[in-house]
Symmetry: C2
Subunit: 358 residues, 2 copies
């Protein structure tokens, strides 16, 4: 038995208004006149008040990141090529947005120093050279991408992260003010990425005391925010930001389960985004996670959230088979959820029936 | 309002038996034939079975660290001078023990690259150059020293840490197997360093959601281990190790309070060690922390712990005044505990009366 030696984020600043310390934080990381590049969620495009808060200096540039689809390797490669063509070298990449923007920031920062296509590095420990300095600043919380050692990318042949010790951010800025006012449904789907992860990992067969401690804390925070609070307030933003952080840390020695395994199939075939996809799937998983699904349904009801239904209606056998193949390819997730004999439990027929319910 | 940009430990490995991965973890950090130096708590001196588990290579050396007294700057300087004289350069320092050994490892690692005496660096951000590679491996849990950005040293004029971004470990190895079998009283005193810290910080005026989350988690773990468990087991060791880690992380945006402020006086005058000193003081702090002290007394009773009494009996006025001066010098602790008008609340007379109860 060997334990993962978990690479942590180097610096964390947490506080309401901490975003205003960004200029000072970046100053010692600037290399000559090479610019800092700010990747900003396209949700903020046209928001002049927000753009003015970005501490631009010299040749620094804002690049709005299109997160209509989750990050693709060819998008990573193109942004990298554009930056190389325009500047040669950059001092760093600062990702400001949700999980997709943070994953783009990590991936492009790595690809500024690693040759070839990002698709070449999808997998475990394939990245051999540190990228440029990189900072993660969440504006929506739940994915845990701010502390993870991966950046999930859709490549020509698979959806898989660049998992490596070079992947975590050098710095994260956790400012609860930034997640204020996220649209309710969006916030819920993203937060449930954290909640569902906790249910899957705490009930899984892979787990130790480190991940249990972080997972239980993240779960409690989610329960407090979404079940026990009468209304959303600043404290809820702060706790949601910490839930995401703790949920991300709990990944170190745990694994997700059925909801993630099934939702990867949806993502691959239909492009269903991670947060909402997990919700669509988890909603039908009573038999695997009875208490978690019950509580999830209470949260959905309390917050008047719409969980899309019938999204697999009318798909062909071939399409169902594609989803089933992708999903059954996630062996560690199934093993974590169902144990070593998962293949006997989760037959193609059973999985097909599950997909048909979605 | 500015928030601290918190430097994290770079790598964490957690797991029962993870200590056996140490050789592999150190391998890429070895610089030519410069040795790794293992600082081991003198508690293990003569324990051949333990010594055999240290992955010595080439010129590597074990140095047993005398923790009869808490670390002194002159001891740090002497160990550094000896290592310089014997080896010139070393590849790294690995501290294996309790808080004192970990503080020694951090301090000596820094002083291998910083000129002069460690006393010159007692304070905040006085260390300007990174030290050598350093690893912390707790064999007793509670202090949080494994994740802190300080190493507390007693110098010629004060007891104060070398607080800097260079101070945290590059690597920590958290192996719950290593804390198995610590003598009951010692384990309790050290664990209470964590518990008391949590009570002080969660009830303090300095706190944000980051530190609250870690502090509440550490507190819950302590309560589970010391109040709700029927007997000590492997799970208790794992949870205590995580409580210490979470308690240490919660330091980022919080501050300790009355127990620490008063116990510093005892440490300075009488050399009372940190863990037991905090217990001696906290036991008498009902008026400041009514619920915490009540719970503490339940834990003391349940585990049949001896809290020394009457340790200030027979001290002279001059001696009481020394303790009072040291204690009142800890302004941030008092302000955290009592608010901005703490000086009006905590008069010399009131503090004297408190010391007389100990």
């Amino acid at each position: 038995m060997k334990f993962r030696n978990f690479k942590m984020v180097d610096y964390v600043v947490f506080g309401r208004g901490a975003f205003d310390q960004l200029d000072e934080i970046l100053a010692p990381r600037r290399q000559g006149d090479a610019p800092m590049i700010f990747f900003i969620d396209h949700f903020f495009q046209g928001n002049e008040a927000f753009a003015k808060r970005i501490p631009l200096r010299g040749k620094d540039k804002i690049v709005y990141i299109d997160v209509t689809d989750e990050p693709k390797t060819k998008y990573v490669d193109k942004v990298r090529d554009d930056l190389k063509a325009e500047f040669g070298e950059v001092s760093g990449i600062i990702g400001i947005g949700g999980g997709s923007v943070m994953d783009m920031a990590k991936a492009v920062a790595l690809m500024m120093k690693n040759p070839g296509s990002s698709a070449d590095y999808q997998g475990w420990d394939l990245v051999k050279v540190a990228g440029v300095y990189k900072v993660g600043i969440p504006t929506i919380s739940g994915t845990g991408a701010e502390v993870s050692r991966t950046c999930v990318l859709t490549g020509p042949t698979r959806k898989l992260g660049m998992n490596s010790d070079f992947t975590p951010f050098d710095q994260i800025v956790l400012d609860p003010e930034l997640i204020k006012g996220v649209p309710v449904n969006q916030q819920f789907y993203t937060a449930m990425d954290c909640y569902i992860h906790c249910i899957e990992s705490l009930q899984g067969t892979y787990l130790n005391a480190f991940s249990r401690s972080y997972g239980e804390e993240a779960l409690r925070l989610c329960q407090e925010i979404f079940l026990h609070k009468e209304q959303w307030d600043d404290d809820a933003d702060e706790k949601l930001m910490m839930a995401s952080y703790a949920g991300g840390m709990s990944i170190a020695y745990s694994q997700v389960g059925v909801a993630h395994a099934v939702s990867y199939g949806l993502a691959y075939l239909l492009g269903t985004k991670h947060g909402i996809g997990n919700c669509i799937v988890f909603d039908k998983l009573e038999e695997f996670y009875p208490e978690g699904v019950k509580e999830f349904k209470e949260m959905v009801k309390k917050h008047n959230i719409d969980i899309p239904q019938g999204i697999t209606k009318g798909l062909t056998d071939e399409q169902f088979n594609i989803m089933i193949d992708v999903s059954l390819g996630m062996a560690p997730l199934w093993e974590n959820a169902l144990g070593k004999d998962w293949k006997e439990q989760m037959t193609r027929e059973r999985l097909r029936a599950l997909y048909e319910q979605l």
